[in-house]
């Protein structure tokens, strides 16, 4: 190993060791504990597959996991589709000197109190909420709409709001990297605006879209606050069950097994998507 490499390793080692000690080792501990059993507060480390059997066979857990994947997929789809045009606008139609101001404007709401933002969506979507009072006030509806709050729709809307900057920023970055002369070339060669977008811009923006999908889809599975506040009984997700097992039922091993199953499911879907996106992107 040369001097350069040794200095580099030495310099990164505090941070890397921190990540190993507080992330890699704890994740391994979760995996280990998912094969154990808990009796009140003591852990019996005799290896067993009982937690996985329960996590995979109990209908409630399967339902929660299925719903979590469905809601996370819907949130991701909604977030990416809604935010793509915004990233496109900032990249292609905003004067370069004002771009960073626009990005700043887009990120501000994200940095304001997470709990209070979710709570305010409850206020906006509720029975006497902003949407319902405006619609009744305008005479568009007679009775307040009840399908807005306490179901999966509310979870999707709230999370699509919470993750917006995480989708806009990576897509914006990949759009910025597109060489504008390629688009002119496509137009010169007879493509219309629409086909040039479809055949040049979109495939070249795929790395950003992939990053956006992963950065929205994976964390969404782990949110239990939004389902608790706006999801109602039918909007609860797997993270609510993990939280309950750890903090209320004192069953860390089952909670750990549910975490492992949830992460494995999400990981597989994410990898499959990333592979598909790479193939699609390389066609462009």
């Amino acid at each position: 190993m040369d001097d350069n490499a040794r200095r580099g390793l030495l310099l990164i080692s505090p941070t890397a060791l921190y990540a190993v000690g507080l992330l890699a080792v704890p994740l391994a501990a979760v995996l280990a504990i998912s094969f154990s059993t808990q009796d009140f507060l003591t852990i019996d480390w005799t290896p067993t597959l009982a937690n996985y059997r329960e996590a995979l066979s109990e209908p409630l857990y399967r339902e929660l996991l299925g719903r979590s994947v469905r809601v996370a997929a819907l949130v991701t789809l909604a977030t990416v589709i809604l935010s793509f045009p915004v990233a496109y606008y900032v990249s292609f139609h905003v004067d370069p000197s004002r771009k960073s101001l626009w990005l700043f404007l887009i990120t501000i709401p994200f940095w304001t109190s997470y709990l209070i933002r979710i709570f305010l969506w409850k206020v906006i979507l509720g029975f006497n909420g902003v949407v319902n009072s405006s619609l009744t006030g305008l005479g568009l509806i007679d009775e307040p709409l009840t399908f807005l709050l306490y179901n999966a729709n509310a979870v999707v809307i709230t999370l699509a709001h919470a993750f917006a900057p995480f989708a806009i920023l990576p897509i914006f970055v990949s759009l910025e990297r597109i060489d504008r002369s390629l688009l002119e070339a496509a137009r010169d060669l007879g493509e219309s605006h629409l086909t040039a977008f479809w055949r040049v811009t979109l495939p070249m923006a795929m790395p950003g879209v992939t990053a956006a999908v992963l950065i929205v889809f994976i964390p969404t599975i782990g949110d239990y606050v939004t389902p608790r506040l706006v999801g109602g009984p039918d909007g609860l997700m797997i993270a609510n069950m993990i939280q309950t097992q750890f903090l209320r039922l004192n069953n860390a091993p089952l909670g750990a097994a549910l975490s492992v199953v949830a992460m494995a499911t999400v990981g597989l879907i994410a990898v499959a998507f990333a592979l598909w996106a790479r193939r699609y992107g390389s066609k462009g």
């Binding site: 190993v20 992330l23 960073s100 109190s113 906006i124 920023l169």
Partner: protein
């Protein structure tokens, strides 16, 4: 048409924060329309709640230390990546950046298992600081990577050639040039830690952080207007901090003599 859509999207993004002051100054205790009368009593009440002050003090302590630790560790990682090539660079960087996409509940659960089940330690504000440092590091690394990318590496080499030691060259040439990035990283880490709820709720012992305290209040309808007043103040504070971070980031870009290409992330 695209412009209209983008404006509608911004309204969607800002809707919750714009409603916040409306309810914070509303005389009614019910958080719904129609609004009642104007009052500042909810803001006045903020000064009288001791539990709130304790939670705020706790959160500030945690946020300051987490931001400092994350920035120091982020600085080491970003400089290593900017200046050297070494084996395992990709996988080590990947591990360091992993908390960015890992669900917070997984980080929380993993640390809870280690602290309680494996080590048998009590939960305290230090467990939260350890976890917040971990999740703030990727943001620090991203910001500081940007700062180092804008830096002309030849400047530091020139200082070394002129007889400075490596450390003094770093201190006297590189550090002042990346200072705006360091401050931006501190501010972002502070903001993230101050607002983080999921990890804090798993790992807080007897002393709740501000978000954990707010979560407790959300169950009591009578306390909601106070939460709205508190939220209004928090939003104002966050916007002020972020504006400061953005101004510094731009100044850093200008100091490095480059064209501005975008935000923090």
């Amino acid at each position: 048409m695209l412009r209209g859509y983008v404006i509608a999207y911004l309204v969607f993004l800002y809707a919750p924060i714009l409603l916040l002051p409306l309810f914070a100054f509303n005389a009614s205790t019910i958080i719904a329309f129609p609004l009642d009368g104007f009052t500042t009593s909810w803001f006045a009440e903020l000064w009288t709640v001791d539990a709130l002050h304790a939670a705020l003090a706790n959160s500030l302590f945690i946020a300051v230390l987490s931001a400092v630790f994350a920035t120091l560790l982020g600085l080491a990682a970003a400089r290593a990546a900017a200046k050297y090539k070494f084996p395992g660079q990709r996988s080590l960087t990947g591990l360091i950046m992993l908390p960015l996409i890992l669900p917070e509940i997984i980080v929380a659960v993993a640390l809870l298992v280690v602290v309680i089940q494996v080590m048998g330690w009590p939960l305290s504000r230090w467990t939260i600081i350890a976890a917040h440092t971990l999740i703030c590091i990727p943001f620090s690394v991203a910001i500081l990577n940007g700062a180092f990318r804008n830096l002309d590496a030849a400047l530091e080499e020139a200082a070394v050639d002129l007889g400075e030691t490596r450390w003094s060259a770093f201190q006297r040439v590189t550090l002042p040039l990346i200072a705006p990035g360091i401050i931006a990283s501190l501010l972002i880490g502070f903001t993230i830690s101050l607002d983080e709820f999921i990890i804090a709720s798993f790992l807080s012992g007897a002393e709740p952080t501000l978000p954990v305290y707010i979560w407790g209040l959300l169950r009591f309808p009578a306390r909601l207007p106070v939460v709205m007043a508190l939220g209004t103040r928090l939003v104002l504070a966050a916007v002020a901090l972020l504006a400061l971070a953005e101004v510094l980031r731009r100044r850093g870009v200008a100091r490095a003599g480059l064209q501005d290409k975008g935000g923090f992330l």
